[in-house]
């Protein structure tokens, strides 16, 4: 059920927040096979649900009041272990809440647990987790996508109506596409990064995974806004995303980026996305061809900039103040080397090495600076396109979910699958992935990209599509 439906039932007294929390916890335990959760916190959920029920009895009625949800285990939760799916932080209990945690707390949503993810958000299959891989609810032999794989699986399996996620190169949109749900990555700076464990600071973006665009609008309304604790947080006022959902939009121009339908895109995926676009056209949208000339450079630029920032961001995990510390270090260097070698998984180590390399004297100009120039061109391409169109559309991913283990031995093949999502992060734009059909029983995602701070427009277009299609209502068959 959606957030909106659950809120209606709570309001009508058909169900209590405590019952919903219990149902979510039961469902999470029943679907332990998915491995979607790193931790469940029944005690905290019950306390929050009771508080929500009490508030409702007092007359409070806000959209998320009493709605159960899960946090990606990258958002710090005071007093509740926050691991980033890393052995490095296996025992880390934050003494503070992330901004996103605070906001949902204030909104009255009920946290039931922390979801699995790729370690430090590095990956797109959720196979890089110190807590094991996550299964795709549509097909247990396939990946749910990543890095917010646990969140996507938990929502797709109906355990929680929404979950938080982070998106650095597609980590909300790609798992949303693979799991047949809706995932919103807001504009960079729209949601504070305070308390969200950093992977690549200039790209990291908190957001939401839910069943519908309407639900995403309700959650974004709670998350968005300026936070003085994050110097990159936008000062700009927050739009009324929910009110904008039903605003009329005659003649919305949707740019169809030909680069997003290039070689490597599955025919079934392309067909499903075209069909969804035709549905939007029938609703009065105008489809326009656009070109994003530097799109093919996005992967290369991303895999320079993100590791560069990561190599520095992850330097703090040194075994000195918190986190994993190796046994019996013999020297300072031994402490660093073994703590980090033991604490970080292979992909994290790979990106730290890459990032250290591209920032090194003699390579900085050739890699880091060049990647930044490419980044600017990619942003310029989008800016030029948005002079002609209101939104840009394409498939979120070139293929549906691949098999567990299929690409884990080939990092480059895995990186290449991010082709349609990473450019959006490089340009700092908002984008949404929504269900657009199936290929061989596996969900396909349509990606809509907007200009900076055009979340309201994105959500309205997605909502309109979800009024005339029913892909988002499909759920995977019940399993054991």
């Amino acid at each position: 059920m959606t957030v909106v439906e659950l809120a209606r039932r709570l309001r009508g007294g058909a169900v209590s927040a405590r019952e919903l929390a219990q149902q979510a916890l039961d469902a999470a335990r029943r679907r332990a096979d998915l491995n979607a959760f790193i931790a469940l916190d029944a005690e905290r959920a019950e306390a929050a649900a009771s508080a929500a029920d009490a508030a409702r009895a007092q007359g409070r009625d806000t959209p998320l009041l009493g709605i159960p949800f899960a946090h990606k285990d990258i958002f710090c939760t005071r007093g509740l272990r926050t691991t980033c799916a890393s052995r490095m932080l296996a025992d880390f209990v934050p003494p503070y809440d992330a901004h996103v945690t605070e906001r949902l707390d204030v909104a009255g949503a009920v946290l039931v647990g922390k979801t699995n993810m790729d370690e430090f958000a590095m990956g797109s299959s959720n196979e890089n987790s110190a807590f094991g891989a996550v299964a795709n609810p549509w097909d247990g032999t396939r990946v749910p996508g990543g890095s917010s794989g646990g969140s996507a699986a938990a929502v797709a399996a109906g355990i929680v109506p929404f979950a938080t996620g982070t998106d650095t190169g597609g980590s909300i949109r790609q798992p949303a596409a693979f799991c047949g749900i809706t995932g919103l990555k807001p504009t960079y700076g729209r949601v504070s990064r305070y308390g969200m464990i950093a992977y690549a600071s200039s790209l990291d973006c908190g957001g939401v995974l839910a069943r519908t665009a309407e639900d995403c609008a309700h959650v974004l309304a709670a998350l968005a806004g300026h936070d003085p604790r994050d110097a990159t947080s936008a000062q700009r006022p927050v739009d009324d995303y929910v009110a904008a959902l039903d605003q009329p939009w005659a003649g919305l121009r949707i740019g169809v980026a030909r680069e997003y339908f290039g070689a490597g895109v599955d025919h079934g995926v392309a067909a499903a996305v075209h069909a969804a676009l035709r549905a939007l056209e029938q609703q009065g949208a105008r489809l326009v061809d656009v070109s994003l000339r530097n799109a093919h450079h996005a992967i290369a630029a991303y895999y320079v900039i993100a590791p560069a920032e990561a190599s520095s961001n992850l330097s703090r995990y040194d075994g000195v103040r918190y986190g994993h510390r190796c046994a019996n270090p013999t020297s300072l260097e031994d402490l660093y080397t073994r703590s980090r070698a033991e604490g970080f998984g292979a992909e994290v180590q790979r990106r730290i090495l890459t990032g250290t390399y591209v920032l090194s004297a003699g390579y900085y100009d050739a890699y880091y600076l060049r990647a930044q120039r490419v980044r600017r061109r990619i942003a310029d391409d989008f800016a030029a396109a948005f002079a002609e169109v209101d939104l840009i559309a394409g498939p979120t991913t070139p293929t549906p979910a691949f098999r567990l283990g299929e690409k884990s031995g080939d990092p480059l093949a895995l990186y290449a699958a991010d082709v349609n999502t990473v450019a959006v992060n490089l340009a700092g734009l908002p984008a949404i992935s929504l269900p657009a059909g199936f290929v061989d029983g596996l969900p396909v995602g349509l990606q809509l990209i907007g200009p900076a701070f055009a979340e309201a427009r994105l959500l309205a277009a997605a909502h309109r599509l979800q009024q005339v299609t029913d892909w988002h209502t499909r759920t995977p068959g019940a399993r054991p």
Binding site: P94, A231, E309
Partner: protein, 486 residues
């Protein structure tokens, strides 16, 4: 120094900006607190924490830039300097690299021989301090104190334009005076809030290329800076004269032996992998920010010094001394304002300067007090000097009165009255005293009239004795000369 060699010195000064909180966190910066009581989650680099720049530190950087006539960058960039060390919680230090907030200023530096050196300051940038490793608190373990981690520093980098230890120290002192004058740094070298690294190289005189330089760290007093540079220059010359090459390295100064030696330990961090900090947007400073600071800028030491000499007629030496720190200069001006409220009065200025730099300085020194804690206010001192100028008390008695004021016995007039120190300058009364003395010593009077001038001082002494020191000495002298004329 050998005539054949020329030393080239550049200083990197770290001035701790006196802000209440740290450069990127709200933790306090007070010195001497219990270890780790002034470290926030941000300073400890807990996961998910983010830096937010302290605008107060930025304001202070702007003030320094304006004071040296530098360019204030409308947009400067915080960069990460990456290296591993236990007292560096994030694994990087946030500093400024390619685009510093302050660029290209000049500071006039007065040397002891009277020359003025224009020292070019290449840049001044904001950066955070690291924490402190504590090696002696735990057995076989090192403790980390993060109180200092994140404290705001202004790193002031001079061009390599200094050529002797004396020039380097004169420049260092001038910067020290300036930052305290501006109130942006307390200048306390013992507590480490004003530190200096020196880059030293030597080259054959006449050579325009630079020699290989060594960086000397850990010099925490003016004297040590001078000694360390002196040693380092001699060491390099000796090496070069022996045909050895200078190795570019960081050296530590050992104050016990007055030597520098290569630094060991610390990751040999030649490659800091600087890159712009993605957590911090470029630091924007709009013209209004700059103008606000410019308007609030105090009269600078050099301008004030010139005013003291040119408008007040003070000797250069006095002006130099008074302008060594702003509180002293302000004290002087406050006293002078009471002493000579109207027009320029060079004699009054000189009198006030003498007392501020003489009696007052000595009293402060003896009590180990800062001028801010002086036990005699500028107005009170001026009251005393007024009496002295009027001739109501003698110079010697004025010192006694000052000592009594310092001891808390009250204001000048009250002390003069209570101790009966008012000087007798009434001609009638003085004449009576002189006549009485002359009547008492007829033989000496005759001898004196006979040409023995030395006896004049004997009579002055006798008159003083009779008047308990209150007689106006010059008047007594004049009267005696008149009455003892042959």
């Amino acid at each position: 120094m050998s005539r054949a060699w020329e030393a080239v010195i550049g200083l990197e000064i770290h001035a701790q900006l006196s802000t209440a909180s740290k450069l990127f966190s709200g933790a306090a910066t007070a010195y001497g607190a219990e270890p780790n009581t002034q470290a926030s989650f941000i300073d400890a680099a807990l996961p998910g924490t983010l830096p937010v720049p302290n605008r107060e530190a930025v304001r202070k950087a702007i003030q320094f830039g304006l004071a040296i006539g530098a360019r204030i960058a409308p947009e400067s960039v915080f960069a990460r300097k990456n290296y591993f060390y236990p007292d560096l919680p994030k694994g990087y230090q946030i500093s400024q690299y390619e685009l510093p907030v302050v660029a290209e200023g000049v500071l006039p530096v007065r040397l002891e021989d009277g020359r003025t050196l224009s020292v070019r300051i290449e840049r001044a940038h904001l950066e955070e301090d690291a924490g402190k490793s504590v090696h002696d608190a735990f057995h076989a373990e090192t403790g980390i104190d993060l109180n200092r981690a994140g404290v705001p520093l202004l790193e002031i980098v001079s061009a390599p334009v200094l050529h002797s230890p004396a020039e380097a120290v004169a420049y260092l002192r001038t910067v020290h005076t300036l930052v305290r004058w501006l109130g942006i740094c307390d200048g306390n070298m013992q507590e480490g809030s004003f530190r200096c690294d020196a880059n030293v190289s030597v080259r054959p005189r006449g050579e325009t290329r630079f020699g290989t330089r060594c960086e000397i760290k850990n010099v925490n007093s003016f004297r040590f800076v001078e000694k360390a540079i002196e040693y380092e220059i001699e060491r390099q010359i000796r090496a070069l004269e022996n045909g050895e090459a200078i190795v570019q390295e960081t050296r530590l100064y050992d104050p016990a032996r007055h030597q520098t030696r290569p630094m060991r330990g610390k990751e040999s961090a030649d490659d800091y992998r600087y890159f712009p900090d993605p957590d911090l947007p470029p630091l924007r400073i709009v013209p209004e920010d700059i103008e606000r600071e410019r308007a609030a800028l105090p009269e600078l030491p050099e301008a004030r010094r010139r005013r003291y000499i040119e408008a007040m007629g003070l000797p250069a030496l006095d002006a130099d001394q008074l302008c060594l720190d702003r509180a002293t200069a302000d004290y002087f001006e406050a006293a002078l304002a009471t002493l000579a409220p109207q027009a320029a009065d060079p004699a009054a200025a000189k009198l006030a300067a003498n007392w501020v730099l003489g009696e007052l300085a000595a009293a402060l020194n003896e009590a180990g007090l800062d001028i801010a804690a002086a036990r005699v206010t500028p107005t009170a001192l001026a009251q005393l000097l007024l009496r002295l100028r009027e001739g109501a008390i003698s110079g010697r008695n004025a010192k006694e009165v000052f000592a009594a004021m310092w001891a808390g016995e009250g204001e000048a007039d009250a002390i003069i009255a209570a101790r009966g120190l008012r000087q007798i300058s009434d001609t009638g009364a003085l004449a009576a005293a002189v006549d009485a003395v002359l009547g008492e010593f007829p033989a000496q009077v005759a001898e004196c009239r006979g040409g023995n001038d030395k006896l004049l001082q004997f009579f002055v002494g006798q008159v003083m004795k009779r008047t308990r020191g209150q007689a106006h000495a010059a008047q007594v002298n004049a009267l005696l000369r008149e009455k003892l004329a042959p």
